[in-house]
């Protein structure tokens, strides 16, 4: 095209070409951008402006139309010295609620106690916990707690309450009127001294102890036969033969955490320990302990004395000791007697029946077997369970007679758990002044004129001496949430003393305990160190063994006759979660599946399937019990024919919104017999109502269907071949063929091993996991819909000694009278070839470089494909929004109880899948600790919540890449197998076979078919 030029200069430019044109200078320079970019950036015109404007307005409108909830985060005005946001602090403390005892370490985040762990320094529990201990932290944030003092049901101030109470107490004491402190068992020496000081002020004061689940017969029997009115230490760890009679020592009897730990020691086997205890259990309901026994014999409660006497006579015969008349034993006891006799000094016989004569026979057997001083010794005596049933009964009589002028109810709830609630309630009304020191405005507190709310143990100072010479301390981990006051301080105040319990304890320790040690020079040092450790243990004093006084049994020979009640014999028992009912308002415990029946949220009439069928009763039939109340039927294999068992702890009326109205209160069936309150002397009649009452259970099929899910063997076979029972593992390993490369992990490769021989099924891990990982409680209806959220569950299967491969069998069809039971904890197996990972369309569940199967909640869209494809079924779906939803009015629905949430773990939204993460937050924390300190991780340093809570140390976690770790050694153990290993999922969880100590040939051998 022709170019025209306007001037000569322009012509020159055109001829020279565009290169010579002067470069336009950017208006301003921007570092790191090319010129073009700059020029583009600064170019802006009206259109761009309008575009930007329109877009911004649109975006602002869209953003502001979304409702974003306002959340307040209040920073520390004055940061406490120790507290670092995001870091947890740990305080040693002691859990004791008048019933269970456990030295603990409390994890505190930003001033909130959020988790309770066992204190590993304690020689009693060695770091073990129970479900109830684990759940106790939630009670702190329970909205049912009494928040301020009350007078006659009206809110009152402390000042007013104190003035009036002191005035009235003075008056009563002045008139020589009887003042009674009715307390739960007290193990705190300082509290005992508070009682003394109170008595000094009001000399007419008497202290009574009351335990709903009483052990007073043990004290009575020991007084009569050994002249020692105390509960001895039982040493299951020293026993090679253990015989239990109706004694759930692993679950609820006396000190179950301690006993579980001891028991597991005897069940441990390995290259250097080829022996194992032999455990016989004679019992009248299927208890957790019975489910672990090598040989379990179902007996009627009325037969217990007969069986026991026969056992005594058999042993006595051999050792030329006096014999007692006994009816012939309904079961064969030759083997037990033989075994016991052969293990003198290394055996232990215990009975959970609260009957003086039975306990006297137990003592006699232990005495004959020379167990005294060994497995059964009085070197240290147990200080819990101080209640005396006779005294309590007398007190109620006196109250009824109007002889008691003032009653201080301290941490007791007889208006719920006394056997004659009506009598107690009426009697209380005849007492002039009634004061309840209670955490909750419960059934009993409601009867009192004054309610003085007590601190939760996590808000309290306290000390404890559960065994003579073994002390521990409690310290507050949070300032009291409500207008509560520690019970001891109330008593001190009323006694006219300085209500400062901390100083009081310190003074007591300085005066009484400081001298007994020589490690610390000043009391301050001693106190600080003890407080830090939480425990302080003195050497046990060696005492001479007492001699057994046979006269007692001789005199009472007539009482040793069995008394057969009319009708079905009834056994009352404590559930692992709910116990005596004190913690019934704890949703974690209500939703903890019973280790045996797997039922939640209810109590029921457990009945032998055979008996039920013969009498036309089917599962979930609502029956009228003794014509007074209705409970559903539950088929319980192992329940002796002609007996039923019902759990106590239910039927609360004023326990709180969770507990109220669940199940029925059956305390009324306990009876005062032979001077003690007995739980298996009742009898019932059942009357069909024709209605059905659904029971929510987390497992409805109870047979392994002959699949090799739990592999077991017997001790002798294991000794001959450590891989016995696990032959399939080698076969499966050989068959392992794949086109894909085996995944390689260069750093850590996390793994978990589960020793099925040590797992007793106590379910502490389930609650620990729930607390650690913010797991929702979903309530009975949803559990019934099979939607429980627990990340770890314990599968329980029944099996019969005879191979039974009749095809599909469920509880309605399989009716073993006395099945063997196995417990198998199942959590995410963190498969290295995980079926769930491949199928997720959005890659929300990837595999980590350390072998963990992870869940990215933010990415999950909830197709549930992973759940379907997980052969272990460990994945959990958030079917509803479980947080702040009135339909799920449990701990996630209240501001207060949400304080227990672990800030390290996301609270999951509705519609996402969740599952066990091996407590990745704990792995990360410990890894960072090690990194900061510039060291390698130690084996056993990382403990997922389940591992940490386990009282028997059945679970071991660690790095499988390091051959020296415990878990790596377990993985090489010939007993090790992976669950469903034939699917080639390459699971990171290994199970060690269960070994039973019984004769070979009896074990069912259905794996090899």
């Amino acid at each position: 095209m022709k170019k025209y030029w306007k001037s000569l200069e322009e012509l020159k430019d055109i001829q020279a070409g565009p290169e010579t044109l002067p470069e336009p200078l950017p208006e301003f320079s921007i570092e790191g951008l090319t010129e073009e970019e700059v020029s583009n950036k600064i170019k802006s015109n009206r259109r761009d402006f309008l575009k930007t404007l329109g877009f911004s307005i649109g975006l602002a409108a869209a953003a502001s139309s979304c409702e974003v909830p306002v959340r307040k985060a209040i920073p520390y005005l004055n940061n406490p010295e120790e507290a670092k946001p995001g870091m947890s602090l740990h305080y040693a403390s002691t859990f004791f609620d008048g019933h269970d005892f456990c030295p603990v370490v409390v994890k505190v985040r930003e001033g909130r106690p959020i988790k309770v762990e066992g204190n590993e320094l304690s020689h009693i529990t060695c770091g073990g916990t129970s479900a109830r201990v684990q759940a106790s932290v939630l009670n702190l944030y329970d909205s049912a707690r009494q928040k301020h003092p009350m007078k006659n049901g009206e809110v009152a101030g402390w000042q007013q309450v104190d003035d009036e109470i002191m005035e009235k107490l003075r008056e009563i004491a002045g008139n020589e009127g009887r003042i009674v402190i009715l307390s739960s068992s007290v193990v705190s020496p300082s509290t005992l001294k508070v009682f003394e000081d109170f008595k000094a002020k009001y000399p007419t004061t008497e202290v009574f102890y009351y335990d709903p689940v009483s052990y007073s017969a043990i004290r009575m029997a020991n007084k009569s036969t050994f002249d020692k009115p105390a509960i001895p230490s039982y040493r299951f760890d020293k026993a090679e033969v253990i015989v239990g009679f109706n004694c759930d020592f692993l679950g609820s009897w006396l000190s179950p955490i301690e006993f579980a730990k001891q028991y597991a020691k005897t069940r441990e086997i390995g290259e250097d320990k080829q022996t194992m205890s032999k455990h016989y259990q004679f019992e009248s309901y299927m208890s957790l302990t019975g489910s672990n026994a090598d040989k379990r014999v179902a007996i009627k409660p009325s037969d217990e004395i007969t069986v026991m006497l026969n056992l005594y006579n058999k042993i006595a015969e051999k050792s030329d000791m006096p014999l007692f008349d006994a009816a012939p034993s309904p079961v064969n006891i030759d083997e037990v007697a033989e075994d016991l006799f052969n293990h003198q000094g290394k055996s232990l016989v215990v009975s959970g029946t609260n009957d003086i004569y039975i306990q006297a026979v137990v003592n006699a057997i232990n005495f004959l077997l020379a167990n005294l001083g060994g497995t059964y010794n009085f070197e240290r005596t147990l200080n819990t369970k101080k209640g005396c049933d006779q005294k309590m009964a007398k007190l109620v009589d006196d109250m009824e007679a109007g002889e008691i002028n003032a009653l201080i109810l301290y941490n007791v709830n007889p208006a719920y758990d006394y056997f004659d609630v009506q009598k107690f309630t009426d009697a209380v009304k005849k007492v002039g002044l009634t004061i309840a020191i209670s955490e909750v405005n419960d059934e009993t507190a409601r009867l009192a004129e004054y309610v003085c709310p007590d601190h939760h143990y996590l808000e309290s100072w306290n000390d404890a001496e559960p065994y003579t010479g073994m002390f521990s301390l409690s310290q507050p981990t949070i300032r009291s949430l409500f207008e509560t006051r520690q019970g001891q301080e109330s008593l001190l105040k009323w006694a006219g003393l300085e209500p400062n319990y901390l100083e009081y304890i310190k003074k007591y320790w300085e005066e009484n305990l400081f001298d007994k040690q020589d490690q610390y020079l000043t009391f301050h040092d001693f106190w600080i160190h003890t407080l830090q450790n939480g425990i302080y243990e003195l050497e046990a004093e060696t005492k001479t063994c007492p001699l057994y006084d046979f006269e007692f049994l001789g005199v009472n020979a007539n009482e040793l006759k069995p008394q057969k009640p009319e009708g079905l014999e009834l056994v009352l028992y404590e559930k692992i979660g709910i116990g005596s009912g004190k913690q019934a308002n704890n949703p974690w415990l209500q939703e903890l599946p019973d280790p045996i029946s797997k039922a939640v949220w209810d109590n029921y009439v457990a009945i032998s399937p055979k008996y039920a069928r013969e009498n036309g009763l089917t599962q979930e039939d609502l029956v009228k019990v003794n014509g007074s109340f209705e409970l559903p039927i539950l088929y319980q294999p192992g329940q002796p024919y002609g007996t039923v068992s019902i759990a106590i702890g239910y039927g609360r009326q004023h326990g709180g919104k969770v507990a109220n109205g669940l199940g029925k209160n059956v305390y009324a069936f306990s009876k005062l017999v032979n001077g003690s309150r007995q739980f298996n002397k009742g009898s019932v009649t059942l009357e069909k109502t024709g209605e059905k009452y659904p029971i929510a259970t987390t497992q409805t099929y109870h047979s392994m269907e002959g699949r090799p899910l739990i592999r077991e063997t017997v001790l002798d076979k294991w000794k001959a071949d450590p891989a016995s029972g696990n032959e399939l593992h080698a076969i499966n390993e050989k068959k392992r063929v794949t086109l894909y490369k085996k995944p390689v992990y260069e750093g850590f490769h996390w793994g978990l091993s589960v020793d099925l021989n040590k797992c007793i099924g106590c379910s502490a891990c389930v609650t620990a996991c729930q607390a650690e990982n913010n797991i929702a409680v979903i309530g009975k209806e949803e559990v019934k819909n099979r939607r429980i959220m627990h990340w770890i569950r314990i599968d329980r299967y029944y099996s019969t000694a005879e191979p039974d491969r009749q095809g599909p069998e469920d509880i309605h069809r399989i009716e073993p009278d006395n099945p063997e039971v196995v417990h198998q904890p199942v959590m995410c197996q963190h498969c290295d070839n995980a079926p769930c990972e491949n199928v997720c369309p959005v890659a929300a569940t990837p595999h980590s470089k350390e072998g963990l199967n992870q869940m990215a909640y933010n990415r999950c869209i909830g197709t549930r494909y992973c759940m379907n494809n997980c052969p272990y079924r460990v994945r959990r779906f958030n079917w509803y929004r479980y947080v702040t939803n009135d339909k799920f009015d449990y701990n996630f629905n209240e501001e207060l109880s949400r304080m227990v949430l672990n800030p390290d773990v996301t609270v999951r939204e509705r519609g996402v899948v969740e599952k066990c993460s091996f407590c990745i937050q704990r792995i990360q924390e410990k890894k960072l600790d090690a990194k900061k300190e510039g060291r390698l991780l130690k084996d056993g340093e990382i403990k997922p919540a389940c591992v940490q809570s386990c009282p028997t140390k059945a679970l071991v976690f660690g790095d499988m890449n390091n051959a020296d770790t415990m878990v790596a050694r377990d993985m090489e153990n010939p007993r090790m197998y992976n669950l469903l290993e034939e699917l080639h999922t390459l699971a990171s969880v290994g199970y060690l076979t269960k070994v039973r100590n019984k004769e070979a040939g009896h074990e069912h051998d259905d794996h090899h078919a």
């Binding site: 099979r786 939607r787 299967y797 199928v839 890659a843 909830g862 272990y872 779906f877 469903l980």
Partner: protein
């Protein structure tokens, strides 16, 4: 070439071109009959139930369904697979038969394709609804993003489901619409009201019927058909892989892709039969959809039914042959016998046994019998999906997890809703769109149906 003397005429009644147009468009040019409004009303009610159930699902959560931790999928996925199966009919009909140059398809393909489109819409709702977080459903699309970028899991069949179904839906809808253009133009030309003219004018893209247009049109149809044909196979193969790639006993089966595709065509053809029998009866289209058509479909169904029977037996044989505990249990204790016996045997009898009645000509020619069997087949196919989804999940590897499943009213409500949407779709179709491909009928008319003396003599030669 179509041999009239051997196979009879396709369109009876010696129609003229004009007759075809007026007869096929007659129902639409009349006022809508009362039954149309009644059915519309009932299905709208059903749809409202469905919408309410969907509202409950989305507002409260999947918890309102009967599914649980052991059985993650229930009616949602059963119905999804069932609808997708039905959605195979149209495309299979038009495309396979188009490629195979089967002329008898012309009176049926339009309706079959319409059914496909509606069925796929119904099917497509379920994977969305069964998601826990439907508001995050867009995560399933692989699009560049600022999250890493984070891509979808290309290993997951669920992702390919989305790809296949959306592609299939778009392809079938396009194919259907493309084929309609000349007919829409006919409607436009015959329209009396201005609005109708404008709407159909818009829809027919100004079709004038020039030779060039026809040429392009036919080429496009063949190309689209060729492209869509593999999709028919792909869609249900991928759906089957949702199950086949898993480790669940009863799902982990290599026979699934062909078995599912065949099953889908089976249910699709059955649904076509159901629909066509109603349409030909109601609109008196017996001349267009002749007994010969029904007979042909019947013969196809007999054959497919045999394949279904073979597939069922293969599955059982392989379960036994594998010797695997889980497989054996699923098939022998949970399907053939056990809790789900009824569902299993309903499936077998409805799909593999009852359709064998089509061997009898008498039955193939009895419209009542054909109608009943076509419905039975679709019930059977629903149970097939039920058996697959539910039995494998209820009793899987660990007996501790065994659970049962019962749908809630919400799940049933959604299913009722989709059934209603399907009916509404069909009702709208028969009211506003030429029910048969008039242009195609006219194309084949001369060669297949017009009986003239000259033709007759030619055939004899």
């Amino acid at each position: 070439m179509y041999n009239k003397s051997f196979r009879g005429v396709l369109i009876k009644g010696n129609k003229t071109y004009g007759q075809i147009t007026s007869e096929i468009l007659a129902p639409q040019e009349r006022k809508a009959p009362l039954w149309w409004f009644v059915s519309m009303g009932i299905s709208t009610l059903g749809m409202l139930i469905g919408i309410y159930a969907i509202f409950i699902t989305i507002s409260q959560g999947i918890g309102t369904w009967g599914v649980n931790n052991s059985i993650g999928w229930g009616w949602g996925i059963i119905n999804f697979v069932w609808w997708i199966g039905i959605g195979h009919a149209g495309t299979a009909f038009s495309i396979f038969l188009l490629i195979l140059r089967q002329k008898w398809r012309t009176s049926i393909n339009r309706a079959a394709e319409a059914m496909t489109v509606v069925a796929v819409i119904c099917a497509g709702m379920f994977p969305m609804l069964h998601m826990g977080r439907i508001w995050m459903a867009f995560f399933i699309f692989p699009y560049p993003n600022s999250r890493g970028p984070l891509w979808v899991n290309f290993n997951s069949p669920l992702f390919w489901d989305v790809v296949a179904i959306s592609t299939y839906f778009m392809a079938s809808a396009t194919f259907w619409y493309l084929g309609m253009i000349p007919d829409l133009a006919t409607v436009r030309d015959r329209a009396k009201s201005k609005i109708k003219k404008a709407i159909y004018g818009l829809l027919s893209f100004g079709w004038v019927g020039s030779a060039r247009s026809w040429l392009r049109f036919e080429t496009a149809a063949i190309i689209m058909g060729g492209l869509t044909a593999p999709l028919v196979i792909a869609v249900h193969s991928i759906v089957s892989m949702d199950f086949a790639t898993s480790v669940m006993a009863g799902w982990h089966t290599t026979v699934f892709p062909p078995y599912f595709v065949i099953g889908a065509i089976f249910s699709g053809f059955a649904m076509v039969l159901t629909l066509m029998i109603i349409i030909r009866k109601v609109f008196k289209f017996q001349d267009y959809v002749t007994e010969g058509h029904i007979d042909a479909i019947g013969r196809i169904l007999t054959f497919i039914s045999l394949i279904m029977g073979t597939a069922y037996s293969t599955e059982i044989f392989i379960a036994w042959y594998s010797g695997m505990e889980g497989e054996l249990y699923t098939f022998f204790h949970n399907r053939i016998a056990g809790d789900h016996t009824k569902a299993f045997w309903t499936m077998v009898s409805c799909n593999a046994i009852i359709p064998q009645l089509f061997w009898f000509k008498k039955i193939r020619h009895s419209m009542t019998m054909v109608f009943i069997i076509s419905i039975i087949i679709n019930i059977g196919m629903w149970f097939e999906r039920y058996v697959i989804v539910i039995t494998s999940l209820t009793k899987d590897y660990l007996p501790s997890n065994w659970a049962s499943y019962t749908p809630t009213w919400v799940e049933i409500g959604i299913f009722v809703g989709t059934l209603s949407i399907f009916v509404i779709g069909v009702l709208l179709f028969i009211r506003y769109i030429p029910m048969m491909a008039m242009s195609e009928l006219k194309m084949i008319l001369k060669g297949t149906s017009i009986i003239t003396n000259s033709n007759k003599s030619k055939d004899h030669e």
